[in-house]
Amino acid sequence: MLSITIKLVMSSNQDHSGALEAAAMNYGMIIAARVILGFGVGLEGGTVPVYVAETVERRYRGNMVSLYQFNIALGEVLGYAVAAMFVTVDGNWRYILGSSLLFSTIMGIGMLYMPESPRFLMHKGKPVEAFKVWKRIRGIEHLDSREEFYVMKMSQEQEDEEVAAGRGNAKYPWMDLFTEPRARRAFVYANVMIFLGQVCIPWHCIVLLARKMLTWSFCSSPVSMPLPTS
């Protein structure tokens, strides 16, 4: 995939000067690096809120999922701090872009010690494993956790029966998103609203180019600028 990306990029490069051809190799690599990074962001942006919602208690579920969104904003503030730290170091943009290697390593090692989501195990037909994980992370002393496990198991059994009985799209239940009218309406509405929100509101343009805009208009030194990126 890396070589395909580089070839695509180099073929679209109109300029034929020698210096740019030497730089084109690095340009292709940084594009590939950004795209691979983006794969990680997209994958994690959907999985982490669901994982957190499946493992914590009902009382804290809303708080914890909002904590994920809060951390996104916190990360943007930290990005300013990191950029300010490295702006005087030679070869600085590499350290700026690669400095969150530390966080991703901590997170990767930490996630190895975390248990699998019990609701996912139940969905895959392993209720005993789900019970083992449930005992570890929720405890079965309190009535809340016992009831929730019970309701989870019963609704999983009901779902299995419905799929086995051939209701609608038996082999691919996710096709219900398109075939059932209520789900299809919600799907279309959500997609249109998010699309309009991203395209018609130029938030990303402002965020990505904020520093440059402020440098052109007001200040000369990049570090002395106030926080523009959120």
């Binding site: 210096a19 740019l20 340009y27 690599m29 594009i31 590939a32 690096a33 691979i36 990074l37 983006g38 794969f39 990680g40 962001v41 997209g42 994690e44 942006g45 999985t47 669901v50 994982y51 957190v52 499946e54 914590v56 208690e57 914890m64 994920y68 969104q69 951390n71 996104i72 990360g75 943007e76 503030v77 930290l78 300013y80 950029a83 702006v87 943009w93 590499r94 872009l97 969150s100 290697l101 966080f103 390593t105 990767g108 996630m111 010690y113 996912f120 005993v128 019970f131 079965i140 496990f149 309701v151 019963m154 999983q156 059994e157 009901q158 299995d160 965020v207 990505l208 990049p222 990126t229």
Partner: protein, 192 residues
């Protein structure tokens, strides 16, 4: 498996009264008119009656005996398989609440990585085009390359969750992050 557990239980159901055969009964309200002996029989035999979701929620709210029966049944299965053997990666704490804090701390770090990435490219934008000699078209492609990758990441999200599980999907995303960051650093040695 889920079906297997029910199958084993229903095998023993024939010894008990038809009380526990869901096909012959009405709603769960009829089944709740059971004596204490019948309940104990059901728990011993491991036959938890089968209800659907709305009935299950009602049972749970009223604190029915089926909840405890399910726990006992599951515990019997675990003991039959040889007890809780937790490997090295299976943490266990005195108080399960610590687990909540730990899970949320590590999972939210993913959010921080998301925000960091989006903000750092803005900071690096001051020096990146000069260093690599990019013109404006190439520069904006570098800036939005991450969002482009996020499209691909969202597409592989559902298959990854189904086949790998949630925990391994998050670990896979960490591996992809690391590969991406190492590629950034790799250009240092490549240039010189």
């Amino acid at each position: 498996m889920g079906k297997g557990v029910k199958g084993a239980a229903s095998g023993e159901q024939h010894e008990n009264i038809e009380m526990f055969d869901p096909a012959q009964q009405g709603s769960y309200m009829d089944r709740r008119e059971m004596t204490k002996d019948q309940m104990e029989d059901a728990v011993r035999a491991g036959s938890v009656p089968h209800v659907n979701t709305s009935e299950a929620v009602d049972i749970a709210k009223n604190g029915g005996w089926e909840v405890d029966a399910l726990m006992t049944e599951m515990q019997k299965e675990i003991d039959a398989q040889g007890g809780d053997n937790n490997g090295h990666f299976d943490l266990e704490f005195q108080n399960p609440k610590y687990f909540t804090y730990l899970i949320v701390a590590f999972a939210s770090m993913g959010g921080m990585l998301s925000g960091l990435d989006q903000s750092l490219i803005s900071g690096a934008n001051l020096f990146l085009p000069g260093d690599l000699g990019l013109n404006d078209r190439q520069n904006s492609l570098v800036n939005s390359g991450m969002s482009l990758g996020a499209v691909g990441g969202a597409i592989i999200l559902s298959p990854a969750n189904e086949y790998l599980g949630r925990r391994w999907a998050i670990i896979l995303s960490c591996i992809l992050y690391t590969i991406g960051y190492v590629e950034h650093y790799h250009q240092v040695s490549h240039e010189f």
